[in-house]
Amino acid sequence: MHLLAQDLVNGILAGGILAVVALGFSLVWGIMNIINLAHGAFVMLGAYVTWQLFSSFHVDPFLSLPVSFAVLFTLGYLIQRFLINWVARAPVLTTFLLTFGLSLLVVNVALLIWTGDTKGVTTAYSGTNFTVAGVTVPWAKLYTLLAALLITGVMQLWLTRSKTGRAIRATAMDIGAAQLSGVRVAHIYAIVFGLGAGLAGVAGTLISLSYSLNPSMGQPFLIKAFVVCVLGGLGSVEGALVGGLTYGIVEAFASQIDVTIGTQHISGTGLQDAVALVVLLIVLIVRPRGIMGRATA
């Protein structure tokens, strides 16, 4: 029973991060029909921005959240404005390949700057934890979850209440009508991609608190973001949150798999990517539009 409760808590703590990772990915996909394969690379950049600030200027990771958002937002805005917008209306395949190329570029530039050595952000509170009813909760992960929930809430408010937020949702619904109403689509697209990248950067900062850093760390998060989107449905904030938490819990339970067949020992912790794939396949077969998804293409 204790173990189950601990797994559940671990899952929720990890799921909060996944929700933020998936949120940006989901916005870009849902609003522009672009599957951003560079999303994992953006997550990695966010983590390195935090690491750089922490190791050079001793900036607390939570204080670097706005910085990594701003840096990644700017990068994302420029990429969309000057590269992706050229092929924004091309078939999905085109932007798919383009962002794949961008991802290779970003990862390898990071490799040149920060080398392939594993790095970590170790604060005064990392490694400390508290225990409630036999369940251990690391402080860093709890703060991370709270930050993730806060960010998700702010995004939801901004998208529904602000003028730009409404222009974004209008563009997603009907580009032509949005243009007629005075929405500058090229600019809105760039803002959406910037937001997606910015959220990835924020997620990277949060991830840097609990995971070690290397330039290819983003790839698994890209796959997970995709699975979370498929789970929760596209383009919605609450979908990303529900999908993220669900996936986090599934993964936490799967990591407890521990069986031995003959001499072959199988442990769930070494098979995280395989777990992601299995979850993805099951959802795609059973419920192709996601848990929260509506019946629109």
Partner: protein, 333 residues
């Protein structure tokens, strides 16, 4: 629409798109024949040219699913790796025969692709693309965790002695020639027309009687068989496999870049792209060891934006620079 006019329409597509530029095709055939001379004429460069041939074969493998059918796979390295492990496992059980290696790899990979394809090829293109990335990561995970596959420590293979080493070169040549030949035949057959029809408009193709999932599975199985065969020859020549070698990022990424540079969904494109990029990569690896993947990323970005249909298309372009520039802004937001 009658069958006759439908096939006439498809033939039109095929002449423009499937075969690619005829001159480019002949250039590929002649170069391929010249490559047969390498072990005799340039024995010191055998390994280099064998690697190039391997990438050519992988590019053709990717082209079948990514180019003709239009379903971009980011997981074809899975088949290369499994092919390599087929040879390694055979060698571990005392079988050291290249024909057996290739035959096993072709069967295993075609079957595996069909099995995995059954659920994921019912999906639209981008879902499929990510699912393949998931397959690649998952299989790498699983193989690294299985004792029978040597885990992360890998498996050693028995290699022939130095004097007979060129048999690996000829084997790689045969696999590559087979891949080109298969692509040529498929492109001219009804099967190839069906692939292209699915790429251009899946609903319309389904209405014309092309069962989408079935044809996509065939395309992916062919793709997997080619990549598997390339892996099956690579492993004994390399003498050792482990998950990081068998499922290397290069073997996943290079074939995609090579195919889109040469011309996606053409017979000559992958060959031209693979030869050019292998050459450039070899020079880069010699002078700037760390930047070759960076360079490939830049090539993808540039090609998608500037040469969306590849070099083969550029060779056949009528109307000069103006037509080209016009085509670039066609999808601007």
């Amino acid at each position: 629409m009658t069958t006759a006019s439908a096939s006439a329409a498809m033939r039109k597509v095929s002449l423009a798109g499937i075969m690619g530029n005829r001159g480019a095709l002949w250039a590929a055939v002649i170069l391929m024949l010249l490559l047969l001379l390498v072990p005799v004429a340039l024995p010191g460069y055998q390994t280099l040219f064998r690697t190039i041939l391997m990438y050519v074969a992988l590019a053709y493998g990717w082209n079948t699913i990514g180019g003709y059918t239009g379903y971009v796979s980011f997981g074809n390295v899975t088949f290369f790796g499994l092919g390599a492990y087929c040879s390694a496992l055979l060698s571990a059980h005392g079988v050291n025969n290249l024909f057996a290696d290739v035959a096993l790899a072709v069967v295993v990979n075609a079957a595996f692709a069909a099995l995995v394809g059954l659920p994921i090829l019912r999906l639209k293109g981008h879902y499929f693309g990510i699912a393949t990335l998931g397959v690649a990561l998952a299989i790498t995970d699983i193989v690294g965790n299985l004792d029978a596959f040597g885990g992360t420590g890998g498996l050693a293979l028995k290699t022939v002695d130095e004097a007979h080493f060129s048999i690996y070169y000829y084997a790689a040549w045969l696999v590559t020639a087979g891949a080109i030949g298969a692509t040529f035949l498929v492109a001219r057959s009804k099967l190839g027309y069906a692939f292209v029809a699915l790429r251009e408009n899946e609903e319309a193709a389904a209405v014309l009687g092309i069962a989408p999932t079935r044809y996509k599975i065939v395309a992916w199985a062919i793709s997997a068989a080619i990549a598997g065969a390339a892996g099956a020859v690579f492993a004994p020549a390399n003498g050792f496999v482990d998950p990081s070698i068998a499922f290397a990022e290069d073997a996943n990424v290079f074939p995609i870049v090579m195919t889109i540079l040469g011309g996606i969904g053409t017979v000559a494109g992958p060959f031209i792209g693979a030869i050019i990029l292998s050459g450039v990569n070899e020079l880069l690896a010699r002078w700037f060891i760390k930047v070759h993947t960076l360079f490939f990323g830049a090539v993808i970005v540039a090609v998608v934006l500037l040469l969306p249909r590849g070099l083969v298309w550029l060779f056949g372009l009528r109307g000069g620079a103006r037509t080209w520039l016009k085509s670039l802004a066609a999808y601007k937001a």
